[in-house]
Symmetry: C2
């Protein structure tokens, strides 16, 4: 049964600082009828991605900024409910990018991938096997090119990207230090994830000194999800040919650019031949299936685990998005809008 | 005739800020007799390298810091005057790293290369075909991987590294914008070097806006010799998959680390997949001969030109080193200590 209307969350004003419910509005719209070549998707999950923050202040991210009244961007898991596109049949489960919306319409172009029947929970396809997990995978494998025996520091290590990166680095034979805020997160990193060390950045006066204690011989790879302050603290600890993967900047997204920490410790770029490079995972889209197959095997073997914080109903998205930046919960933040088929 | 004594310039105190004559002392030492496997070299030229600055404040560079009383580091062109090493004969002309010193002793290890008889001025081997020229070559070819049609910005473009990089980028089919201080330098960049644009950073209020005028479609490669302030101004102008080659930091070497400009515009590392990477040219030492052959052909064809500022006598090195940072002259700064054979 396709309803006559659906709800979505739109941008009510350009956001300054920490996002909150007043920045968004919930709208009810008529469910569209798919035209020629189009497919109508009922969304089951929508993601809450810190990286989506930049587009909400009228600035370009790796995709153009949103206008006021646009549906807030997000990734989704959904099911086809009507199709005029031969590639998709009613009942197909898809990963796509429809935003904070109960329904989505696609002409099949852009990010729209059928979910294979690998007997994994549906939410894995928007989490550990979705954009955050693939960011971890390609950030370590392609951008950093990590090798067994290297020392890897992961920031925001209890988030979905960070926790996946930390575990992949362990699986690939690295020594891994996680940085996170709070004892609960650090206990999880050391206990359940088995990292070699976890640093509670809120509990240490000097992050650099804490890194020195945990990695006295220095750091080969910094997989950073937080931003300039942590990068600057880590730079003097980078080993020869060290790599900094700029995966996310959750600590900087809500700051005016004058308030962002300035990176000063750049001398090591020359002395230690450090390389710093960012990624947007869609550059690797052709390699998603192979990466997902490798990660799925790790999940089934119990080597790669994940945490989720699931909110109910599309109306919860604005507050849930605020929670992401406040670090109240950890793991992948998702909104569920329809029952799992 | 080998004299009984020679003069050298040693570090008299760790340097704070701009280096000057009081930071160094001239010593007279007995000329050593080469032992087994050793070779004695009379230096003809010594270089004045801004990159040598960091080692003079007790900090490690890509090689360990100097101690008080050590000979100041530099590259040299010299001639073998006595040899107990089968690989080198009296009369051989060599490029090496003996420092600000009239003589040097080597066991043949480290950087010591015979100069081929290519009928080029001897000073080319410490300049455009030496460390600065090779830094330009490998910075563009290996680190940046430049392609014809790309837009390249070179800072400190009237220096030996910068001018060589700017010309190589032109030879390889790029659009090249040079940044330098003063009209004389900029006139030379546009006139004799034929760059597409030259920006006098001392004459513009806003370097970023000046870059926007010269490169309205953005910048593919920043070949930076100056440091954080220019990198930060260029970052928002970088195009997709842009590369920043950290070749030198002449604007930052004399600053206390708290006074170094902090780089804030790091968002483009993700949105535009920017890569920033430093180099020390000796990582490419196995490829020096092929690079030098290619560059020598460009020199002979008149496509690659260079400027020199030659000082007479080893005693002039401390003031000459100060001049390097003050930008009084431009091109390769050299001290000549013996006649050209």
């Amino acid at each position: 049964m396709i309803p006559e209307t659906y709800r979505c969350v739109v941008l009510a004003r350009y956001i300054d600082g920490l996002p909150g419910p007043d920045d968004f509005a919930i709208e009810t719209r008529p469910v569209p009828t798919p035209g020629d070549g189009e497919v109508l998707v009922r969304n089951i999950y929508a993601s809450l991605d810190p990286g989506g923050r930049t587009r909400l202040s009228g600035e370009a991210s790796y995709i153009p900024p949103l206008s006021i009244g646009d549906i807030a961007g997000a990734f989704n898991i959904g099911q086809v409910v009507a199709s005029n596109n031969q590639a998709y049949a009613v009942g197909d489960l898809l990963a796509g990018a429809f935003g904070w919306s109960e329904f989505g319409l696609s002409d099949g172009r852009g990010y729209l991938a059928k979910i294979p029947d690998w007997e994994l929970p549906l939410s894995t396809w928007i989490g550990v096997l979705g954009v955050p997990g693939l960011t971890a995978y390609f950030g370590l494998k392609r951008v950093a090119g990590i090798s067994a025996g290297e020392t890897v520091v992961v920031t925001s290590a209890a988030g979905m990207v960070g926790a996946t990166a930390a575990q992949i680095a362990k699986i690939l034979g690295c020594r891994v230090i996680g940085v996170a805020g709070g004892t609960e997160k650090c206990d999880w990193l050391k206990g359940e994830l088995g990292l070699d060390a976890a640093i509670d950045y809120k509990a240490v006066d000097d992050l650099g000194a804490a890194i020195d204690d945990a990695a006295p011989d220095g750091v080969d790879v910094l997989f950073d999800n937080v931003g300039n302050r942590f990068v600057d603290a880590l730079l003097p600890r980078m080993r020869m040919n060290g790599r900094i993967v700029v995966s996310g900047q959750v600590g900087d997204y809500n700051l005016a650019s004058k308030d962002v920490h300035g990176i000063r410790n750049t001398r090591v770029f020359i002395t230690h031949r450090v390389r710093m490079e960012g990624l947007v995972v869609f550059d690797d889209i052709a390699d998603f299936p192979a990466a997902q197959a490798e990660m799925a095997a790790w999940i089934k073997a119990g080597k790669l685990i994940y945490r989720e914080k699931v909110y109910d109903g599309i109306e919860s998205a604005p507050q849930a998005f605020r929670d992401v930046f406040q670090g109240t919960y950890f793991g992948r933040h998702l909104v569920r809008m329809a029952p799992i088929p």
